[in-house]
């Protein structure tokens, strides 16, 4: 499979603080990369760099042969944005617009497609995420899980090759989290797109990831597959602590005995 994202020696500094420190990784087409790390570890800054929203101090980001970090051309950036989908944690759907209008917006802004064609595209994308008969509803009329699905449909509207998903599981109950994870895995297989997912949910991370990137204070603590993680995590104190499910059971035992 072809390399789709390459990050080389990426450094990002905000004022005096080093936020990202020598980040290196590669992702292949149709992989899911899950980025994990504590709050403040640099996950969101890395995402902003990958989206071209900020410029790194040094280093290189190459996306499908396009050197994002060298790009100052608005047209080239626009082309890049046309090929990606982004789902931010909260700012997903516009509450004053219906679901149909929310999904139609990028198509009206970026294409000259006829209304009847737009209608089919919206119907198609909503059906891909398992939503029907929601066209006339407003986002505030949907449950948390349905909102995530609708936002996902909107992110898929222009057939992105890469989809960035910031905290897909935040505010969701375990059953809805499971449903969203299943949906992401289905879409990955069905649409052959590459996902970059930032999450705090360890079990979701291990379910979804082809590759894991674990950040610790701006540095890569681990990058690799799940089986590679299994081989090394017991030898690394940070990784051990990070995914130590045993701690939960220790706490349950503590509660039971006190």
């Amino acid at each position: 499979m072809k390399k789709i994202i390459t990050v080389e020696k990426l450094n990002f500094r905000y004022k005096e603080k080093q936020i990202l420190d020598n980040i290196n990784f590669e992702i292949l087409e149709n992989e899911i990369l899950v980025i994990l790390g504590q709050s403040g570890s640099g996950k969101t800054t890395l995402l902003k760099n990958l989206l071209g929203l900020v410029k790194p101090e040094t280093g290189k980001i190459v996306i499908n042969d396009f050197v994002l970090t060298d790009c100052d051309d608005r047209e080239e950036l626009r082309y890049y944005y046309k090929n990606i989908g982004v789902l931010f944690q909260n700012a997903t759907l516009l509450n004053s617009l219906t679901i149909y209008e929310n999904l139609a917006l990028p198509l009206i802004e970026k294409t000259n497609l006829a209304r009847e064609i737009i209608e089919v595209i919206i119907k198609m994308k909503l059906s891909w995420v398992g939503l029907n008969d929601v066209n006339e509803l407003y986002p505030y009329e949907l449950s948390g899980g349905m909102k995530k699905r609708a936002a996902l449909a909107r992110a898929l509207i222009m057939d992105p090759k890469i989809l960035y998903f910031d905290e897909p599981h935040s505010g969701l109950d375990p059953i809805t989290t499971y449903e969203i994870n299943t949906l992401l895995l289905e879409l990955k297989k069905f649409l052959k797109i590459t996902f970059i997912v930032i999450t705090h949910d360890i079990s979701s991370a291990f379910l979804l990831a082809d590759k894991l990137l674990i950040l610790n204070a701006g540095k890569v603590e681990f990058f690799g597959t799940k089986s590679e993680f299994n081989k090394v995590h017991q030898k690394n104190e940070f990784l051990k602590k990070f995914v130590d499910f045993k701690r939960i059971f220790d706490f349950v035992d503590y509660e039971a005995n006190h």
Binding site: K82, L107, K110, T111, N112, L113, A114, E116, I117, I118, V120, I121, M124, K125, M158, D159, F190, L191, K192
Partner: protein, 99 residues
């Protein structure tokens, strides 16, 4: 044969409308493709689209075909490219046949 703006050629023969595409159908130009085909709507005709010169497509093509199928007896697609063939499987278009 008529040369069209979208860079396609359209020919009518017997009960068939033959369309030879020289451009890929993508979000940025799908509407031109759609408008050109619309001019030839006829429920008694088969629409035969030759995609053999195309390298890629996106879901805008699927949406166009989904609407267009209502105005033709059938749609037959000639296509060699695996990516386009795959795109065509992502949405059900009952009158569509891929050859």
């Amino acid at each position: 044969m008529k040369k069209k703006k979208f860079n396609l050629e359209i020919k009518k023969q017997d009960n068939n409308v033959f369309v030879f595409l020289n451009d890929n159908v993508l979000f940025e130009n799908a509407n031109e493709f759609y408008e050109e085909i619309k001019k030839h709507y006829n429920n008694n005709y088969n629409l035969i689209i030759d995609f053999t010169k195309c390298q890629k497509a996106d879901t805008s093509l699927l949406a166009c075909l989904s609407v267009i199928q209502n105005y033709f007896k059938s749609i037959i697609i000639k296509c060699l490219n695996d990516e386009i063939k795959y795109i065509l499987t992502l949405w059900q278009i009952p009158k569509l046949v891929i050859s």
